[in-house]
Symmetry: C2
Subunit: 468 residues, 2 copies
């Protein structure tokens, strides 16, 4: 494989102090005066971080397979991105921030077409740009509500009634609709009020925050190994689809859209089969409910396809696909012109994204294409998965429910002492994240190669021995 | 006054074609294929925009007193910002985007203290960083809900009950609270689901989107000139405060916070007196309800103070102050340590802001300080307001309800043909925005000088003659 990254990466991890070490501890204490540090994982020296390696102020360097919660696509201090960041175009985007809906830059069509839209999912040729995953999902939801109400009114030419306008100003029906967005149990779609109403990951994410009375369907939590539970899993998926249809037909606040992650990521790396997702597309289409695919964590190559939903073999595309994280910008794709609201200023805000971040995504896309990183991720993922199967056999109970076969490096397993597992990993020179209650989730960058996978595997084996 | 900006600004506006001209029209047509252009005001050539002047692809150059909906603080292509954008620190922040809550940069405390927190409102020494105005407000609201529920439970040491945790996952009480955020009629606080529930600007912003059943109080819409309606206005403010107190005590979903703009900006540039705001602070304090001041549009100098609420002479500071726009980043300030939730990961998201944008704000602050731009804005505003009073006398009906005296350049007036007024302005070489139904709002940058004000005034007189 390519040794392009050899030139700017260290040979391997090096751990010299406990983490946090003395320098980090002093800096964290200072930071905590002004910024809540209780969720701090590792104070980071980004200047010294490089490729697949994350550094800290005490000189520790770890192989990073968490990558800023799956947000770093092509490595720390990637030379191609440095070059893009130094360019006049980027500087212009950074210092002259436009209100994109009112005053778009003269070359905005080109920035979109040669960047964000160059990788648009099949069937989706338009984009609404946003700032992060939560508002990407919420603007998609808003588009869904407006679309559905327009259908109910009888078309885009029907004007709003006085009663609708007055009641909307009072947050009451019919102006404020009583429709809903359906999501799945154990899903994660963001943390603002609308997105949090669809998030069903953990109580700590939701407690005390007012929520909309929207429906949730059961996600078909599969049993592993898949080949030993084929019948049971198929039945679980069938039951889940039946529940979706039942809720569409009977829930008191009718859903105008279903939002789903291709792999439930924060919720514990829960997968479902392509058949399940094809069934979900069929049911939503049948009942005129939109399908929003939340690719905030799965998108941009990590599953061995640019978009994870490409694994499903859909003939009828999703209505909207949301993105963020590895794109370093955010928004949602759509194809149906009816998803542009019937009047301007209904879907609008001051910034509507960030041109600097859109330009960075363009640079990321060209780096991914130049180095064929999606295909390489598929290959490295296959290698890594095979080796993990071996580890799972040698260390029973330590790599339970291994999952993500054929999904690039988007791999996870359960460990009964998960939090200790993650903590111990740092001593072995690896930065790893968790998800759900017991999953260890691998979220390496797209530049992970077999030699990095070998370093990771050696560390995982070391951890397993310690915890055994 | 300083002629620092002479070196990089044109002499004055130049209008060569209708706007949009032929080049803009062609580019807009292309853009519309992939991006909704119905809210487009002016396709912009940001490379050629300079200081107070905005350029378009047809070579037209306008004095810009709209400034990307009040978002450009120190001029297009400001040399100081270019220098900051070219620096290694900024490039690092741009290409190595951290998950700030988990992996903050080692110097994050310094970036905050020497930037965002250097200008923190009095009494507020902590910050939660966000991406834009809507999520700045929504995270502040979340903090308010968690704070209030903690008080109701009896303290931060009280654990959540099983029933709370289970019901939260179902979006039901008691886990999902039935508290509310109170806002004012004609207010604007953002467009996501929680913030939109507090926004009461126009039906077009709210129609079809589900909303929380939260209370709204009447904003004391003052009559002008103020000196002729002193008694009436005082009575309106008294009535508004009485309504606030009544709603706090009686609304079926008790408010845990009141959110208010120092000047209602999108809603039509509605002002209230310092006495009103001091009264609001007193009432909220009395009833243990938080006061959130939304300085998204008023903040960062335009009113002749760094924060508009400094005009109120509060002895007891607001609980939270939100910011965005001219800060080029976003978030909320707070002082009370109880506004940090009792456990980590309750107020959290992947990015929690953007270090590149935080560094840009730091550069903006140092430019504002170096050139004393807040005081200069106060002076230029006084000059401009005086001249506008003269215009209002000479052109009766054209500059109605002139308002913003003593509030820097944050000035507005009503015109019966407002939309035509704004359109005609471009022919006179000026880019101006509106707000509410009939207001012309001036939102120049902080680098507007008397000579720019003179150009603006000449244009305004020209428009008034055309429309008379």
């Amino acid at each position: 494989m390519s040794s392009y990254y050899n030139s700017w990466e260290p040979e391997g991890p090096s751990v010299n102090t406990e983490i946090p070490g003395p320098k980090a501890k002093a800096a964290i204490k200072e930071l905590d005066e002004v910024f809540d540090t209780r969720s701090l994982n590792m104070l980071t020296d980004y200047q010294k971080s490089c490729g697949n390696y994350i550094a800290d102020p005490d000189g520790n360097v770890l192989l990073d397979v968490y990558a800023q919660i799956a947000s770093i696509p092509v490595g720390y201090n990637n030379p191609t991105l440095i070059k893009a960041a130094r360019g006049d175009e980027m500087i212009n985007g950074l210092i002259n921030r436009p209100a994109l809906g009112n005053f778009p830059p003269k070359d905005w069509a080109d920035v979109l077409k040669s960047g964000i839209l160059k990788v648009a999912p099949k069937g989706l040729n338009q984009v609404f740009t946003a700032m992060a995953g939560s508002d990407a999902n919420e603007t998609a939801y808003k588009a869904a509500f407006m679309w559905r109400r327009q259908h109910e009114r009888g078309g885009s030419h029907i004007e709003f009634t006085e009663h609708e306008m007055e009641s909307a100003m009072k947050n009451q029906t019919p102006g404020a609709s009583e429709l809903s967005i359906m999501s799945f149990k154990t899903s994660f779609h963001g943390r603002l009020f609308g997105s949090l109403s669809t998030t069903r990951s953990k109580p700590i994410h939701k407690l005390d925050i007012p929520a909309f009375d929207w429906p949730q369907a059961t996600f078909p939590l599969l049993k592993y190994p898949l080949e030993e539970h084929a019948e049971e899993n198929a039945a679980a998926e069938k039951a889940a689809l039946d529940e979706v249809e039942h809720l569409i037909l009977n829930y008191h606040a009718p859903p105008c859209a279903v939002v789903v992650e291709p792999i439930q990521s924060e919720g514990g790396d829960n997968h479902a089969s392509p058949e399940f997702f094809r069934g979900l597309r069929a049911i939503t289409r049948k009942h005129n409910v939109l399908l929003i695919v939340d690719e905030v964590q799965t998108g941009v190559g990590a599953t061995g396809k640019f978009w994870a939903h490409e694994h499903w073999g859909l003939t009828d595309p999703p209505d909207m696909v949301t993105f963020s994280k590895k794109a370093q910008t955010a928004g949602y794709y759509f194809g149906n012109p009816e998803l542009r609201p019937n009047k301007p200023y209904r879907q609008f805000n001051t910034w509507m994204g960030d041109p600097a971040r859109a330009l960075l995504f363009k640079a990321i896309i060209s780096e991914v294409e130049r180095l064929d990183l999606v295909n390489k991720t598929a290959q490295v993922g296959e290698y890594l998965y095979g080796k993990l199967e071996g580890l799972a056999k040698r260390y029973p109970g330590q790599f339970e429910n291994l999952r993500g076969k054929g999904m690039g490096t988007f791999i996870a397993f359960d460990n009964p002492k998960r939090d200790e597992f993650l903590k111990t990993a740092k001593k072995f020179g690896v930065n790893i994240g968790g998800s759900g209650t017991s999953a260890v989730r691998l979220r390496p960058m797209l530049i992970l190669e077999e030699r990095h996978a070998d370093i990771l595997l050696e560390a995982l084996e070391g951890i397993a021995k310690v915890l055994a």
